[in-house]
Structures are given as structure tokens and as C-alpha cells.
């Protein structure tokens, strides 16, 4: 069957079977490989994308469910201000080692910082609990997100 969905701002028509996962369709049919698959069970969070602006596990969605919806991946067109701030802070704070879990964390917090401009560390930690990282021990990730949040507030204040 053919479904029509918006991916990174472009309307795409894709031939899928009903049991195809969104993560597989993004990666294998649309060549958007920034979305990583770590567990296919919704636990590790590496495959997190935005569906209509909200974080969602691409491995827990069937592609057919996306008919008429907008999906944003890390590749996503023009990056949001939140994503740009997160990328800069992740680089400065050495918040990724192997980088495999990183796209899911960036997408999660691009949405979170947008919706919580005054977030505190407890809030960040609570949300980050949904992503597994096997390399960093999480400390640099928390510091980077807090730094990105502060940088965004600075820009907003100007």
C-alpha cells in the first residue's frame, strides 16, 4: 500500500506493508539513517523522532500510522534553534562518545527545551531517563542540555 506522510517538511509517498515499522521505513525506504534502532522495544530511545512536533519512538510505530502526520528526524531540513543550541553544547561538553544514542537524545530535548524554556536539572534528568547511553555515564549529557537551555534563554533575553 502507498501512504503519504510529511518527513522533514516534504510530502513523501511510500510503498509499505502494514507491518513495516516507522524506523525501518525512515532508514531503509527514505534513506534517513540518523534515526538509530537500538532495541526495537521502545526502551533505549535511540530511535526517537518527532511526530507532529512531539517525541515518539519510531520503533513502536507502524509506518501506516503516519498517514497524514509530520515526522521530523535529526536530518530534518532547517534545524530548530533548540537543536542548534544542543549540538553546540554537546560538542563543547563531550556529551557523546560512540554517538549511537545521540540522535534520540537530541530529538527528545529539541522538543523539551522548546516546551520548557525554564527547565531545571531535575526536569531534564526525569526526561533523560527515557534514553539509554552506554558510554558517557550521562553527566556530560545533563551538563550539555543545561548549557543549551541557558544559551537559549540568553538569546531570548537579548
Amino acid at each position: 500500500m502507498i501512504i503519504s506522510l510529511t518527513v522533514n517538511g516534504e510530502v513523501r509517498d511510500v510503498a509499505v506493508e502494514p507491518h513495516y515499522l516507522l524506523s525501518d521505513v525512515l532508514r531503509d525506504r527514505l534513506d534517513l539513517t540518523a534515526t538509530h534502532v537500538g532495541c526495537e522495544q521502545g526502551i533505549c530511545g535511540a530511535c526517537t523522532v518527532l511526530v507532529d512536533g512531539q517525541p515518539a519512538r519510531a520503533c513502536l510505530l507502524f509506518a501506516v500510522q503516519m498517514e497524514g502526520h509530520a515526522v521530523t528526524t535529526l536530518e530534518g531540513g532547517a534545524p530548530s534553534v533548540e537543536l542548534r543550541a544542543l549540538r553546540a553544547a554537546f560538542h563543547t561538553h563531550h556529551a557523546q562518545q560512540c554517538g549511537f544514542c545521540t540522535p534520540g537524545i537530541l530529538m527528545t530535548f529539541a522538543a523539551y527545551l522548546r516546551d520548557h524554556p525554564d527547565c531545571d536539572e531535575a526536569g531534564v534528568r526525569a526526561v533523560l531517563g527515557g534514553n539509554l547511553c552506554r558510554c558517557t555515564g550521562y553527566g556530560p549529557i545533563v551538563r550539555a542540555i543545561m548549557a543549551a537551555s541557558a544559551a537559549l534563554r540568553e538569546v531570548a533575553d537579548v
Binding site: D31, H36, G38, H91, L132
Partner: protein, 788 residues
């Protein structure tokens, strides 16, 4: 050598980050190969069974299925893996690429489907009909070592695959004569690496050139190629191994596993590209496990807590198949156990058992248990004698003047500052004011763990220990015609930041800017044959080889520059950020020449070269590190345990660390904190559980829990570094000691807290259930009663 280190030591953010953060990284599964077929493996649902029959007819009928193969089918294409190094006490083992008539653990391979896509391959897999005759399984290593046990490998006639004994001095005589003998037990649970990127590979056979290309996330591209070549009956020149970005490895991506070899064989047989991506359940069930070890120490002590003699008994569960010599992991625990303590009379006995469980391999700090066992033994001694644990450590610790020290395990300890790291840690954690106590809601404890981390193993170590293999590393540096410095080494990264840190090393070695150094890694054709990434050898072996090679580049460039400047000698000339300068007191003066000028001469105007100098600028240099380099550290933490729930909280965690010269503090800090986090995760949460029939009960991330952000406390890292006296740049290595220290520090803190209620725990992980039982059910108390 360089007249100054300009870039080594700088906390430079990593050049790898851009592609990772932009979503432009390329892990195996991101790489498109036109026409590639997809494989899926059918695995045994039983812990131990005979394969009576396999019917693949229905699977082959499904549209899109290309082939289905069994162990019998592949046996003609691939030779068996025989692990039989000449090590006393080690029994040789052998295994085919896929089992032919018997499966030995749940998740063992039964058949492989190759189809147009993975969905079809998995559907076909479900159509394969296998008749099994289930056999009794043994999933407990102590049961496996009993005479009446089921045999995991009938060819061996026993499950005792390795037994190793080592003696220095006469520990038994010391134990017999000692005023006191204190016994302590330690049991570490089975764990697995769980990189967030699972295994996977793409194999392509070029029938015209008769050449195999394997794209695979690997720590060791060249040794892996050697394995493939041997198993497939090819020559080295017929195989290329390419490791792209790797989503974590932690020791899991070293061995050539059976799945990957089967994919290579199938690509050759079919003449078409074949790819495989492991799913998470396969990874947890059947990739590689680690760490399941039990230890008992017996210490002869005097009344002051001085250890007069020590023995270690160790049993390890190696699972169903040996991808490594079965003694190799435990042996290092035996070798380094005594660490910085002066114990002349020491012995160990190691027994390694086969069981009906997934095979075992090294996991970040395979020797991790050593620190917990040694430091836990010291704590038991202190408690039994009513002494202060730090004081017992001081009384047994080698004085700085005693270094270098011939350890009773056979290696030589030097360049460590164990007393300094411990005393600093005691100050920082507030040791003097601490007493274990109970405020009615919580039990409070403090734990110490001194760590001597064996980081880099040279060839002499392998030879001495009988483990086999080389410890050398190889570097190649090419100054390109435009002056770019291209550097490579046999290492393959999985997040360590080599592209950044090695560029810093090469920049200093040659005398150029890091931005002018390109670091390319992970391809067996373009990197020199090296031993790859394992242990803590990246900096010392890889960085050391590159630095020595870079020094040769620098000397060569200066000779060429001197000639261009009309000089007979290079005296007074230097290389700074790619420019040839006159080195003057208090500064330098430009000569007007730079590396690009010299490169143009070397490549395009060879007649302008000095007499005897050949055109081109390619350099190759190998480096074999000392037998064993050591880093050291002290971990200290304060914990509290909730009486009602058994919940453990880490209130303060710190590491005082000496890892030698630091190339990049940002990267080193990341590695150290990451290692501590992995150690904490293993100590508190992770557990591979099998039932008695050999069924794995922990093959999802919901059951095999690894630490989330909520489980990892803030980790304070305090540097007290001293350089190595025997390696280029004074490098020592790190990135595993954090695991070693975390286990010991937390377990010791917990037992300090539990001492308030007279309890003790000897088994990991330290889950709330286990701690609750220790506090309320007196489970730990019985164990403590057995000491001494």
C-alpha cells in the same frame, strides 16, 4: 623529538562530533549496498538439545527467500575454529561455524535464512521445522565441575576447560603458620556488554577478483581479517575488513563470531552481497557474555593486619563455546591481584567451567574483579581484627622506594603513586569523620577501593603468560604532496575519540597543527597491520607508535629543510605548526619554508633532495610497549541503604586518578566517568539470569537493566598524574580502571554500612532485594560467620 608539547594536554572538543551530531555518521547498518540480501538466524529455544532433523521446505517456498543453510551445509565452506594455544592446563576446543547436530545454549545457531529483505527472512525463519531431542543442561558452573555433570562439549570429556596454578614463595606454609587465617568470598554475576549498536555486518564477494570485503563494527580489523582468512581458506590479500563508525563495543566486537563468518561464507557461495543486523534479543541472548566469576581468598595475617601470605581460588563460567583461550580472563585477575601490596608469598588456582550458556569474552576491564577481591579482603581483615580499613591498607602498601616491584603474579609494578591517591581520596571523602552508622531509616557506609589497572600489554607479557599473541602496534604517516599529514594506526574506534587525540599526538610529534593532521582508522587495506583496540592500550600502544613514527617524519623533514637552506646539519632548526623555524633563545625566527614546500620537493622535484634521500614522504613504524603498563587510582564513595526498602543511594563518589600523561583531558575525563558508570551499572543492576534448564530469563532491556541517568551519581575525578618512565610521552592508558574501582568501592561501602547490623553481602548485583534480605533476614550474617 619535539622541543615542546604544544597540543598534547589540550582539552580539545572532538572532531568526530560534527558527523555524530548532524546525523551524518555511518554505522554498519546505515551503509547502503545495492542488491544486498538480508540474513536472519534461527536459534535454539533450548539450553541443550540434539538436532534430530531440520525441514526447510516451507521456508524456501516463501517468495523472496534465496537460500536456507544449516550447519551441515556450511561445514564444507568453512573450517572449524580451534582454540589450542600451548598453555599448561588448558584443554583445546574446537567448533564449527554453525552447530551440526547439537545445540549447546539457548540462542545457539540452527539455520540461516537469506532473503530479499529482513521481513521476509524472519517470516521464512518461522517456517523452518526443527525436531529437537532435548538434553539435560547445566547452567551452574559449580554443578558443571562436579564429576556427574552433563557434558557441554563431549569431545573434552569434562567441563573443566582450564585449570591454572601459580605459586610465588610458599603461601601454604604461611597460612599454616599464621596467627590468623581470614577467608573472604566474592561472587560476581554474569553480565553482557550491551552496546547500543548491536552487531552486524555486510559481506561482499567479488568473483572476478576473488576478493571478500567485510564491513563490520570491529575493534580489531586486522586480527579479524586473519581469522576470516584462516576459516575460509583464503589469503590475506583476498580479504578487506572495514570498520565504519561503531556504536559502542566494550570488548564485544573483537572476536570473529559465527554469525559474521557464516555471512562471509554465504556471500562467497551466492556471489551476492549479504548483510545481517543483530536484533537486541539476539544481542543479549547470544552475542557474548562476561564477568561470571567466583573468588575466595585466604589471607595469613598477624594481629596488626599485615598480610603474610595470600591464596586465591577462582572459578569462572565460560559458557558453551570458547572464542578465547579459557584461562585468559581469569589469569589476569590472578596476575595483578596483589596490586600495590607487598605480598611475597602468594598463589592462585583458577578453574574455568563450560556450561550451557552463551560464550564469554572480555568486557571493559575483564580483570575488573581483581580490585574488589583484594580491597574487599582487606576490609574483611580490618573488620575481623577491629582495625581501621585505611590503616590496614597503609600497613600492607609498598613504599614508593620499593618500586619497581616484582609482583608475585610475575609482572613488574612501577610508576604508580598509590599512597598519594589514597591519602588524597581519604581527605576528599571526609574519611576521618566517618563511622558506619544507622539513623533508624538508613544505614550509612563508606567504601574505599585502590586500583592498579593493567592498561597496555606488550608482547613480552603475552609470551610470559603463555596467552599467545603480540602486543605491538603499527603506525603509518604520510605527508601528502599538499603538506597534509595523513596518519593511521591499527586501532579502530568505537567512541574513544582517536581521530582527535591521535591528531594531537601526531601534531606534536611532527611539529604541525592538529588541523593539518588527518587520522584514518579502521580499514585493513589503508591502516597498517596492528593489534587493534582492546584494554587500555589506545594511548600507549596507538599513541606511542604514532608519536615515534611522527618523530621520524620530523627528523626527515628537518634534514630536507636543512638541505633546502644550504646547511649541512639540522642544528638550530625546528618545526612549529608546520613552519620550519630557527629555534632561538626566547623564541623562534621564520625560515620561510613550510611543510607544504618540503612536500612539493619530495614528490615533484626529487633532484632537489639531499644526496641519498629518496623521493616521497611515507613512514612506517611499529612499537612494542613494555610488558605491562599500570595506571592507578583510588575510588571512594559514601552510601546509604534504606532499611525499609533496601534501596541504595550513592551520596558522594570520587576518583583520584593517575593515568600518566593526558593527551586530551576532555576525552580522558569522558572515558573515566564512562568506565565508572559501567562499573556502577554492573554492580547495582545488570544480571544475566538463566534457569536450571538453561533458559535465559533476561534477554530484553526490560529484564537486563542497564543504568539510566537516575542510577549514576555525580562522579568527582581528581587528577594526581605522574608520567610513565618507559613509554613515549609518558603515556600509561586508562578507561578500564573506572570499572574496577566502582565495583570495589560500592561493594565495600555497602558492607561497611551493613556491618552496623552485623550483615555482609558477597554476591552482586547489589539490588534492593538483596540488601533488604541482608538487613532483615540475616542472610549475610551467616556468611560472615564463616570467615576465619
Amino acid at each position: 623529538m619535539s622541543e615542546r608539547e604544544a597540543y598534547v594536554g589540550q582539552p580539545r572538543p572532538r572532531r568526530e562530533d560534527h558527523r555524530l551530531l548532524a546525523g551524518l555518521a555511518r554505522y554498519v547498518d546505515d551503509i547502503k549496498v545495492t542488491g544486498a540480501l538480508h540474513a536472519a538466524f534461527l536459534r535454539s529455544p533450548h539450553g541443550h538439545a540434539r538436532i534430530v532433523s531440520i525441514d526447510v521446505t516451507a521456508a524456501l517456498e516463501l517468495p523472496g527467500v534465496v537460500t536456507v543453510v544449516t550447519g551441515e551445509d556450511l561445514a564444507e565452506d568453512v573450517t572449524d575454529l580451534t582454540v589450542a594455544p600451548p598453555i599448561e592446563g588448558l584443554r583445546p576446543t574446537s567448533m564449527p561455524v554453525m552447530p551440526v547436530d547439537r545445540v549447546r545454549f539457548q540462542g545457539d545457531l540452527v539455520a540461516c535464512v537469506v532473503a530479499a529483505d529482513r521481513y521476509v527472512a524472519e517470516e521464512a525463519m518461522e517456517r523452518i521445522v526443527v525436531e529437537y531431542a532435548e538434553l539435560p543442561a547445566v547452567s551452574d558452573m559449580f554443578a558443571a565441575l562436579r564429576d556427574d555433570s552433563v557434558l557441554v562439549d563431549e569431545a573434552l570429556g569434562t567441563n573443566l576447560v582450564a585449570r591454572r596454578v601459580h605459586r610465588a614463595g610458599d603461601p601454604e606454609a604461611r597460612l599454616a603458620a599464621a596467627p590468623r587465617v581470614i577467608e573472604a568470598e566474592f561472587h560476581q554475576q554474569r553480565q553482557t556488554h550491551a552496546p547500543i549498536e548491536t552487531r552486524g555486518c555486510i559481506a561482499q564477494w567479488d568473483p572476478g577478483r576473488e576478493h571478500l570485503t567485510l564491513v563490520i563494527g570491529s575493534q580489531v580489523p586486522h586480527p579479524l581479517r586473519t581469522q576470516i582468512v584462516r576459516r575460509l581458506g583464503l589469503r590475506d590479500s583476498q580479504v578487506s575488513v572495514s570498520s565504519p563508525d561503531v556504536g559502542g563495543s566494550f570488548g564485544q566486537k573483537i572476536a570473529l563470531y559465527r554469525e559474521e563468518l557464516a555471512i562471509c561464507a554465504l556471500a562467497r557461495r551466492l556471489g551476492r552481497p549479504v548483510r545481517w543486523k543483530e536484533d537486541r534479543m539476539e544481542n543479549l541472548l547470544a552475542a557474548c557474555h562476561a564477568r561470571e566469576q567466583w573468588c575466595r581468598t585466604r589471607a595469613a595475617v598477624d594481629d596488626t593486619g599485615r598480610i603474610l601470605g595470600l591464596t586465591l581460588e577462582m572459578v569462572e563460567d565460560f559458557g558453551a563455546y570458547c572464542f578465547y583461550p579459557a584461562n585468559y580472563i581469569s589469569e589476569v585477575v590472578g596476575i595483578i591481584l596483589t596490586a600495590q601490596y607487598g605480598i611475597a608469598d602468594y598463589g592462585y588456582e583458577i578453574r574455568v567451567a563450560l556450561t550451557n550458556k552463551c560464550g564469554v569474552g572480555p568486557m571493559r576491564a575483564p580483570m575488573a574483579m581483581a580490585s574488589w577481591v583484594m580491597e574487599g579482603t582487606l576490609d574483611v581483615i580490618a573488620r575481623r581484627l577491629g582495625l581501621d580499613p585505611a590503616e590496614v591498607r597503609r600497613r600492607n602498601m609498598l613504599a614508593d622506594q620499593a618500586l619497581p616491584y616484582a609482583m608475585p603474579g610475575g609482572e613488574t609494578l612501577l610508576d604508580v603513586n598509590c599512597a598519594e591517591t589514597m591519602e588524597t581520596a581519604l581527605d576528599e571523602i571526609g574519611y576521618a569523620a566517618h563511622r558506619p552508622h544507622d539513623d533508624g531509616r538508613y544505614l550509612y557506609g563508606l567504601g574505599l577501593c585502590n586500583v592498579v589497572e593493567s592498561t597496555t600489554y606488550g608482547s613480552r607479557f603475552y609470551k610470559n603468560s603463555g596467552i599467545g599473541g603480540s602486543g605491538h602496534e603499527a603506525a603509518r604517516i604520510i605527508v601528502e604532496p599538499d603538506g597534509t599529514v595523513s596518519a593511521s594506526v591499527g586501532m579502530a574506534a568505537a567512541g574513544q575519540g582517536y581521530e582527535t587525540t591521535f591528531a594531537q599526538v601526531v601534531a606534536d610529534g611532527v611539529g604541525v597543527r592538529p588541523d593539518d593532521v588527518a587520522v584514518t582508522l579502521g580499514h585493513s587495506d589503508t591502516s597498517p597491520y596492528g593489534m587493534g583496540s582492546r584494554g587500555g592500550r589506545g594511548a600507549t600502544a596507538g599513541g606511542g607508535a604514532l608519536y615515534l613514527c611522527a618523530a621520524e617524519v620530523r627528523a626527515h623533514l628537518l634534514r630536507l629543510a636543512a638541505h633546502r637552506l644550504g646547511l649541512n646539519a639540522t642544528d638550530g632548526l625546528g618545526l612549529r605548526d608546520g613552519r620550519i623555524v630557527w629555534v632561538r633563545a626566547g623564541g623562534s625566527e621564520e625560515t620561510g619554508l613550510d611543510v607544504a614546500d618540503l612536500a612539493r620537493t619530495a614528490y615533484f622535484d626529487p633532484l632537489a633532495l639531499p644526496e641519498g634521500m629518496r623521493p616521497g614522504l611515507e613512514f612506517y613504524r611499529t612499537y612494542d610497549p613494555p610488558p605491562m603498563t599500570f595506571s592507578n587510582s583510588t575510588h571512594a564513595c559514601r552510601v546509604r541503604i534504606a532499611r525499609e526498602t533496601g534501596r541504595l543511594e550513592i551520596l558522594d563518589y570520587l576518583v583520584v586518578e593517575n593515568c600518566g600523561t593526558v593527551i586530551n583531558p576532555l576525552v580522558v575525563h569522558g572515558q573515566q566517568a564512562g568506565a565508572v558508570a559501567m562499573g556502577l551499572s554492573g554492580t547495582l543492576l545488570e544480571n544475566v539470569v538463566y534457569d536450571q534448564a538453561g533458559r535465559n530469563l533476561s534477554a530484553t532491556f526490560a529484564d537486563y537493566t542497564i543504568a539510566t541517568v537516575a542510577d549514576i551519581p555525580a562522579i568527582r575525578i581528581i587528577a594526581r598524574a605522574t608520567p610513565s618512565s618507559r613509554t613515549p610521552l609518558g603515556l600509561k592508558g586508562m578507561a578500564e580502571g573506572g570499572v574496577m574501582g566502582a565495583i570495589g568501592a560500592v561493594a565495600n561501602a555497602v558492607n561497611d554500612a551493613l556491618s552496623v547490623v552485623g550483615a555482609q553481602v558477597t554476591c552482586l548485583p547489589l539490588t534492593p532485594m538483596r540488601l533488604h534480605a541482608a538487613i532483615h533476614d540475616g542472610i549475610g550474617r551467616a556468611a560472615q560467620g564463616q570467615e576465619g
